[in-house]
């Protein structure tokens, strides 16, 4: 593929160290384009990109998304692999949050993300451990479109255990980065990357965030860029919910109790699944009654339902498969509320 000299100049700029700070100094793209005379470095990079199947879209291109152009500090280059059309997808939601997800957070994810997908939202996230990877994964499992914005060159992988997921996203969705190939995930890249995540989305959804979670930077970017911020409240005693709860206390975010809250705000709808019309047998019903609305330990359930371990285990699996209850760590079970 042939790139013109302006694009090559931007590629060379993105290759310099401290690129973020320099980019801000050349506030006009045109000035940045006049920086270099010799483009051999850029040519070498373009060769590498071709080998890796990576392309670039710059702020000079028409394909560059308007919503990104509008922010205070737009990235000049976006290296990508996958379906570049997803950049201009208007119905998109960023799903970000803590790297250490609790069972509560996982429950939120498995309840919300499939609905987002069903409503046609593109899920944008950062491929980090925890909420990010779970979001991508659930989205792909449900056949949705997902965009991963990473803080390193897209030939790198961080965290390493996500390499398979990263490949999948580049095939079935879109993998992008502001940084050229070979760039390591340096610490200061992450906050820089977060502004792109929020800018690409219509709203940022945070299921769980600790007190100093990086996702709160994304949240601040979202507020700055005029995007909606959706957070799910959590227990005041849970370290993984402190960030979310503080956003609510400071009146910066929309309290989100169900995926419908997010869809309503965006003017979308999702056909509700049919009301459960299930015929439970006697044992299943008595376990459901025994559960009530709380999460109950299996020993307590035995007492309440009067069944022995073998029967109860069997009934619990059946109910889990139907989707009426779920297992939590430490042999606790709870009914799945209808959101």
């Amino acid at each position: 593929m042939n790139y013109d000299n302006n694009v090559k100049a931007l590629i060379m700029l993105s290759l310099t160290e401290g690129y973020g700070a320099r980019r801000k100094r050349y506030d006009s793209v045109d000035r940045a384009c006049e920086l270099y005379d010799d483009y051999s470095v850029a040519d070498a990079m373009i060769g590498k990109m071709e080998n890796a199947g990576v392309k670039v879209v710059t702020i000079l291109d028409d394909a560059y998304p308007q919503k990104l152009r509008d922010i205070y500090d737009p990235p000049f280059t976006l290296y990508y692999k996958g379906d570049v059309g997803l950049l201009n997808e208007s119905d998109s939601v960023a799903v970000v949050g803590t790297r250490k997800v609790s069972a509560y957070g996982k429950n939120i994810m498995s309840n919300f993300v499939p609905v987002f997908v069903k409503a046609g939202l593109t899920v944008i996230s950062g491929l980090a451990r925890g909420v990010d990877s779970i979001g991508h994964r659930i989205c792909l499992e449900n056949g949705g479109k997902t965009v991963a914005v990473v803080a390193n060159g897209i030939d790198q992988c961080y965290p390493p255990e996500n390499s398979e997921l990263q490949n999948k996203i580049s095939e079935q969705g879109l993998l992008i980065s502001e940084y050229p190939l070979g760039v390591k995930p340096l610490q200061y890249h992450f906050p820089e990357r977060n502004r792109i995540i929020s800018a690409l989305s219509r709203g940022v959804f945070i299921p769980e965030a600790g007190d100093r979670s990086g996702s709160l930077i994304t949240a601040d970017c979202a507020i700055e860029q005029g995007r909606d911020l959706f957070v799910v409240p959590g227990s005041i005693f849970s370290a993984q919910s402190v960030g979310c709860n503080k956003k609510i206390r400071d009146l910066q975010a929309t309290i989100t109790l169900s995926p419908q809250d997010v869809l309503d705000e965006m003017g979308l709808s999702c056909s509700k699944p049919h009301k459960r019309a299930l015929q439970l047998d006697f044992n299943q019903q008595s376990v459901m009654n025994a559960l009530g609305g709380e999460s109950v330990h299996i020993s307590e359930l035995m007492v309440r339902s009067g069944m022995n371990t073998a029967q109860l285990s069997s009934v619990l699996t059946q109910l889990e498969i139907i989707g009426l209850i779920r297992k939590r760590q430490g042999n606790y079970y709870e009914a799945v509320p209808e959101l």
Binding site: R99, K100, A103, K106, R129, G130, I134, P159, E161, A239, H297, I298, S299, E300, M302, V303, G306, N308, T309, A310, Q311, S313, S314, V315, L316, T317, Q318, E320, I321, G323, K327, R328, Q329, G330, N331, Y332
Partner: protein
Amino acid sequence: MLAKTKSYALNGVDGYEVAIEVDLNAGLPSYDTVGLADTAIKESKERVRSAIKNSLYTYPIRKITINLAPADTKKEGSHFDLAIALGILIANEEIESAVYKDFIILGELSLDGSLNHIRGVMPLIISAMQNGHKKFIIPSANAKEASYISGIEVYAFGKLAEAVKFLTGESCPEPLKTSEFVSVRSSNKYNVDFSEVKGQFVAKRALEIAVAGGHNVLMIGPPGAGKTMMAKCVPTIMPDMTFEEAIEVTKIHSVAGILDSSVGIVVNRPFRTPHHTATIPALMGGGANAKPGEISLAHNGVLFLDEMPEYQRRTLETLRQPLEDGVAVVSRSKHTLEYPARFMLVASMNPCPCGNLGSTTQECKCSPSEIHRYISKLSGPLLDRIDLQIEVDGISFDEFRSVQLNESSSAVKERVEKARGVQRERYKGSATKTNDEMSNAQVREYCRLDAEGEKLLKTAFTRLNLTARAGNRVLKVARTIADLDGSVNILPTHIAEAIQYRSLDRKYWD
């Protein structure tokens, strides 16, 4: 003059005959041992001389040459002492009768002429017996052990002089009486019982299933949840060992030198808990004397690996082969030994390095990468061999009222034995003994599901995120549950219960 006595040596748990040739020559007094003898045998020189002298016999002042045939095999151990001493006395014509020619002679000498306890009497005698030998002389300290073998004539002596008098015909003691295995077995005692475990109904039920089907188990739970306690109870619900099983175990323990000589046979199923710093030779067998390792000592019993991810990964991986074949192969520079190692693996681990992951009361302080590293110590192929993975919860039982009385081990054992009986009947004529050992073909034959069961399994895979390799495992466990239930067919409820015991497959830590 030349004398030739017979003894036996061990190679693993199998023995071979060693002929001990003693020749007295003219020349400067000396004592030479040839035939690849190790240090312990070469040192017998001093023990033999003192023992003969202190038993008031004459030690020949001649050039003594001792050959251990076959001369090209390395021989180890001190149990040739007695055969050498008797050989010298015969060569010196202190013993004139030829009775000794029928005997396999085993025993270590003390300087005062008494006979010491030796390792490996049971396997030595059994393999000699299989090769047609009928008469044995052994130290009386090993008498108990030898007495369980019937159809042979064993004479046990406490002193060299007694053995000599027997061979010269000066005294005629009775051969050992055969001990009854059944009478010792009824007196077996474990010092733990299932009824002492409070609560933990799920874990107890899972252990019952595991023992009934010979499945391996992994218990996951916070520290102090009672994982070790429950593991210790596993042997108490296993079926009693048959005589053949007991002999197999005794042979190994005898070789390892850990047999209780006052009982002479292993009655209780072994329960071995190697520490997590254990090396590969300690676990698999080997070392200077190629002794059996922990997994062989756990043969027909339980191998308990506490805090499984704390073991070195390399060490854990070596378990894979024995778990499959039931044999530990110890390779030495010259030859390869095999020790039986058919054990039930019971392992335990914390959910994360600090142990509090998923706890409702305590906060987990581990980083995601720490947890990842902790869990990745257990490789997929190893986990593949562990059918049941259960959660043990850390809450104290006091928090719950109970309707179910805590059953004693013997009640559980009764059910287990019944289920094992069903399996024995089913696998008659094949090498398979328990559900765990089923081959793929057998799974297809014996684990057929009805349409409802198929549907349940299929939906379970998609709804509960079961990984693909869970398939056969769930079926095998479901087969055991059905056996416990006395059901010929695997019902959907059996499958549903089996799925409960696949914690790791359900992406426990994601």
